[in-house]
């Protein structure tokens, strides 16, 4: 299928060019972000971006007097982002109008067989390359200190998917494409249900809703922007030098509007007396929260002299709710 191969190449190349034109790589590095801001890209290309409850459709691209991208509110943020990237592909490559249902999730973007038409093939390849380019995957592995071998473990793959803002399944495919994992590893990984992985991070705690994501946060997440959904769960796992009197203080997290649902300590070296423990606190975001907190490890009697601290920046407003894309709506309000 020479035609399909050409379409994939066109889509992938367009994604690369748009990253460059919008300076997306520099933005990610400077802002310490881990996800490509696909909605901003749509807006920067001059399209009206709208979210409304759709039934069977995930999204649509309507170029009329005004360019328009419509995305459903009835799906989780990773699906909204993927749909956005697909529509952005149509927009950037000046395609014909397109209505897209969940076939865009099922089609394998890099298979050279299949019956989707050429512009759909191009948009599929565009979306995958736009959301998970090689440089972003490499940056994530470097920041997190993850090895390729670790990513064959569903727990790490799931955490990688949260950082990239792509679904677990899409992330497995992306990392296979970038040769971080093998095909056989990918096949094993996609058999694992994300719910099962979440359960492992949470231990005995049962969330009210299994659609939320469970972030494992460590020292490696210092300063990076955590972009998730309202009610997401955070398992903060930190080394605690309690033998020397140092304790992590989580009051700031509570003050910022998180509920602490579990607090646990694990012995990392059971034989050593006065050694380090691992402190594991599970927090749940209560609302659409945005901001930052600094956690400190200090001695209770000298709280001003922390041994370590961890800055967490978070934006938990996803998924997008009905109406115009929020930043654009804020601009309209300010101009009025």
């Amino acid at each position: 299928m020479v035609d399909n191969r050409a379409a994939i190449l066109t889509g992938a190349k367009a994604a690369h060019t748009l990253h460059r034109d919008l300076g997306i790589r520099e933005q990610i590095e400077r802002g310490n972000a881990s996800r490509i801001d696909v909605f901003s890209a749509i807006s920067k290309l001059g399209a009206t971006l709208m979210f409304q409850p759709l039934d069977k459709l995930l999204g649509a691209y309507l170029p009329s007097e005004e360019l328009g991208v419509l995305i459903t509110t009835r799906r989780q943020l990773p699906v909204q982002r993927f749909t956005g990237a697909h529509e952005l592909g149509h927009l950037y490559m000046r395609h014909e109008p397109s209505l897209d249902d969940d076939n865009i999730l099922r089609r394998s973007p890099f298979s050279t067989t299949g019956t989707a038409d050429r512009q759909e093939r191009e948009a599929d390849a565009f979306a995958s390359m736009f959301l998970a380019p090689a440089w972003l995957v490499a940056l994530m592995l470097q920041r997190q200190g993850w090895s390729a071998r670790q990513l064959a473990d569903p727990a790490y793959m799931y955490q990688a998917s949260l950082r990239l803002g792509t679904s677990y399944r899409a992330t497995c495919y992306a990392l296979e494409r970038h040769k971080v994992i093998s095909r056989a590893q990918r096949e094993r990984l996609i058999d694992v249900e994300p719910k099962q992985i979440k359960q492992e991070f949470l231990g005995d705690y049962k969330p009210p809703d299994w659609h939320v994501d469970v972030w494992l946060l460590t020292e490696r997440d210092e300063g990076s922007l955590i972009e998730g959904g309202r009610n997401d769960l955070f398992v903060v796992k930190l080394r605690e030098n309690s033998g020397a009197g140092y304790l992590w203080n989580f009051d700031q997290l509570r003050d910022a509007g998180f509920a602490l649902v579990d607090d646990d300590r694990e012995d990392t070296a059971p034989d050593a007396i006065g050694g380090a423990l691992t402190r594991k606190v599970t927090a749940r975001s209560e609302d659409r929260l945005q901001g930052e907190v600094t956690l400190r490890e200090s001695r209770p009697w000298a709280a001003d002299v922390p041994l370590h601290q961890l800055l967490l920046r978070y934006d938990l407003r996803g998924p997008e709710s009905p109406g115009m894309w929020e930043p654009e709506l804020r601009r309209v309000l300010q101009a009025a």
Binding site: T48, M50, F51, Q52, P53, L54, D55, K56, L57, A60, L62, P63, S64, E65, E66, L67, G68, L70, E96, P97, S98, L99, S321, P322, G323, M324, E326, L329, V332, L333, A336
Partner: protein
């Protein structure tokens, strides 16, 4: 404080005013603005906006112009004929909608609303640029 209190306790909704109120509400909700945000921009109490949308308070011309701008619609969208009567699919949309034979009623409706909004926004932009 507000004009509509003078002499009347709460005037009954006139049919035209009620239609206008409904359209204002529909337009506000479509873009995702809250009554609070809009009331702040107009510098009126939220209850006044609520009454406007219920058709029990008059909207003056200046307020209407500001609301239209905020909701990104041309004035005629609010004051003209029923906007929904004319929103069969625009040509471009009709073309793809035909292609997607299995389109559900709801999706069809949302696409028509979005196409109408795009058209409105283009017109609203053209008028404000021309000033």
């Amino acid at each position: 404080m507000t004009n509509d209190r003078v002499g009347f306790s709460q005037p009954p909704a006139e049919p035209d005013r009620q239609v206008l109120g409904e359209r204002l509400k529909e337009a506000r909700e479509y873009v995702g603005l809250k009554q609070d945000d809009v009331a702040k921009v107009l510098a009126i109490p939220r209850s006044a906006l609520s009454n406007i949308e219920a058709g029990t308070r008059k909207v003056d011309a200046i307020e209407l112009a500001r609301l239209a701008k905020l909701y990104q619609r041309p004035l005629a969208w609010f004051t003209g004929e029923d906007p929904n009567a004319t929103t069969e699919f625009a040509k471009e949309v009709a073309h793809v909608a035909r292609a997607a034979a299995t389109l559900s009623q709801q999706d069809r409706q949302e696409l028509a609303r979005f196409a109408d909004f795009l058209k409105s926004r283009a017109k609203a932009k053209a008028t404000s640029d021309g000033r």
